[in-house]
């Protein structure tokens, strides 16, 4: 009986999935940009920044943050410096 309850609980706990999916679609709806277009934007940002800075392209993160219906575009772009290269070489 208890095992059955456990199984049932697991199969029904979809609320976090729902909340996360809703958060994502709302962010893109409110900003009026599709997830695919955001990828295009990210590639363009990388292209522009790369002209001037040596960046770690694989670790670039571009996404939205929401705070009380205010949307912000956040870009986290790690920059290669002489120091970071030295540390990476050592590792």
């Amino acid at each position: 009986m208890r095992l059955l309850d456990l199984f049932r609980r697991r199969s029904q706990s979809t609320q976090n999935i729902a909340a996360e999916r809703l958060r994502l679609v709302l962010t893109h709806d409110r900003a009026n940009i599709s997830p695919g277009m955001l990828e295009v934007l990210k590639d363009e940002i990388i292209a522009v920044i790369s002209k001037h800075l040596d960046i770690d392209i694989d670790k670039v993160v571009v996404n939205f943050t929401e705070d009380n219906r205010e949307t912000r575009l956040m870009a986290d772009i790690p920059v290669h410096t002489a120091r970071s290269r030295r540390i990476n070489d050592r590792a």
Partner: protein
């Protein structure tokens, strides 16, 4: 003093707009207010059936706009609560039969005679959405705790905000407390957190709602119905009474017992 004009809207269809309009109208009349509800779903009339008034309909809103009858003649009086009147939609006409100015005029004329005017708007965000929300002092957005309905509700809230309409409140319909407890449904707190909107009330899922609509006797008339109680509570809030939303209160209480809420930690 003119009555308050409240538009019931949703974005997505089938979430309980007409049920909400019918029950809140009747609940307000039960509290002793003069209420007129307007069915703005031209071509897909249903508020008359929900209220059990379909056999009393003679004229409709388009007949009045086109000058075929007086407004009083288009108003169907509810035999149960004579303070409640319905202005039915036209059934054989398209949505283009009404212009924004027409609905604005009817709503304001009805508000001269009533303390509350409720407009049941069609689903969608096209023409009907515009003419129904234009005259409103308050827009109630009805939704279910589902990703699809909530996304559409957010669209509607966003459009209203873009038009500079501040007074928008949410009604969370078909809420299943048991399922929320088992983490199978988004909680009211999660919903208002994601939508950043004021919550006017939660209506629990209740099989009595179908029975009520089967009979044309809205569920507020049923003393044993949880949904009926929720609608009566919402009506009291609309009339200005300070009445906390229960599900949120319980959470707050438990939160005090078991530590701060997530929001307060952030």
């Amino acid at each position: 003093m003119a009555g308050k004009i409240i538009t019931v809207s949703s974005g997505k269809g089938g979430v309980g707009k007409t049920t909400t309009t019918a029950n809140l109208s009747l609940a307000l009349a039960m509290l002793g207010y003069r209420v007129t509800c307007i069915d703005a779903d031209i071509g897909l009339r249903n508020l008359d059936v929900m209220l059990g008034l379909e056999s009393h309909v003679y004229y409709d809103i388009v007949n009045y706009i086109e000058g075929h009858c007086r407004l009083r003649q288009a108003m169907v009086r509810d035999p149960r609560y004579p303070d409640l009147c319905l202005i039915p939609a036209a059934q054989t006409r398209g949505k283009d039969a009404l212009r924004v100015e027409d609905m604005d005029r009817v709503a304001h004329e009805a508000a001269e005679m009533a303390q509350f005017v409720l407009i049941d708007s069609p689903a969608g965000i096209e023409h009907g959405f515009r003419y129904d929300t234009t005259p409103a002092d308050l827009v109630l957005v009805v939704t279910n705790p589902e990703v699809t309905a909530l996304r559409d509700a957010d669209r509607v809230i966003g459009l209203l905000e873009a038009e500079g309409r501040a007074d928008t409140q949410l009604i969370l319909n078909r809420y299943n407390h048991e399922l929320v407890r088992k983490n199978g449904m988004m909680s009211a707190e999660t919903v208002i957190d994601l939508l950043s909107v004021d919550l006017l009330g939660i209506v629990p899922e209740d099989t009595r709602v179908l029975g009520a609509s089967n009979q044309g006797q809205p569920v507020v008339l049923d003393d044993r119905s949880a949904a009926g109680r929720a609608f009566r509570d919402i009506a009291r809030r609309l009339s200005g009474e300070e009445l906390p939303v229960k599900a949120l209160e319980q959470r707050r209480f438990l939160g005090k017992l078991f530590g701060p809420r997530r929001k307060e930690l952030a």
